[in-house]
Amino acid sequence: MRILGGCAALVGGLELLNVIIASGSVGRGGGSGTGAALAGLVGVVSTLLFASGIALLVRPGGAIGFARGTALAVLVTFALLAAFRPGFSMASMLLGIIFPIVMLGVIARRGARGAAAAAR
């Protein structure tokens, strides 16, 4: 779980950095209000992902619910963004979709293993 936490913090930080740089670049060209709102939304979910990564690093067992919710929020946000406003960098969108899927998979697998251990 600590490895997953480290990866989540890294991906969240990268996405946050990307959205800040992209907003700065587009802002110089006079970006639209919708674009700013979307950048804000991506900023919020990236911050949440970063926070969930830190939480998993600090309390691996206690932050699973928060990490699961965050992964779902990041997945839905980036999938919506890619589907309807594919203006962000392709690598950023791909990472924003693939990483939460991996995160949800790892958390689900760990949950199943924990339940099996409890049953024994």
Binding site: G29, G30, V76, A79, A82, P86, M90, L94, I97, A112
Partner: protein, 228 residues
Amino acid sequence: MRHAALAASLSVAAALSLGCIDASRINRECRWTDTRSGPLDLDRAADREHLRQDAQVAWEVGQRYGDVRYRTQPRLELPLVGACRSAMFDSIAARHGVTRADVDRATRARLWPVDVAAVFLPMLALAVVAALFAARELERVIVTRWTAALAARGVLVCLIALVMAGLTQIWAMSVESWRLRNEHIAGRAFVVPSVAHPAIALATMLIVVAVTVALRASRRRTLAHSIR
């Protein structure tokens, strides 16, 4: 399964090689190159295809002309790109005896077989595989109450369709980028069919995923009945 993956990879590679831009005509100096002149008859498919290629080259040359100077400054780049493209479109119209409207239409024209073979079919196949995999995982944890099972399947279908629609856009733009031999496709992204019609792309994914999940559930029910 391995044969299907090989066939899909080969069809994508063939489609990509067929639909690529003519790299010998691309430059960064806003210089027009064309071996053919004379009027085009837009009732002929070969002439329509020539005009489509001309318009695509003009679009791309304009983009690279701007990118090499002010790539990160859209305010400075856009007028430069616009002026270069406009001069090239006028040149195409004069050289081939067509109107500016014909050239504008040609910039949005697509090679549909390439889009179908390189984007739509592989992504629909991937959606079916993803739906089958997710449905199988869901069946392991599914609750016995049918309403809850139905709700869980509904959420799963929506989520997979949304993710696949997003991945389709990313893949479609990657394919366009390979065809143009330029990682910065900029405004050209909005000519890509799935990007131009995102609601249709999402609805198609929703239908494909829902049908796949429903068929799997029905097959499982039939199997369970036959065992009893």
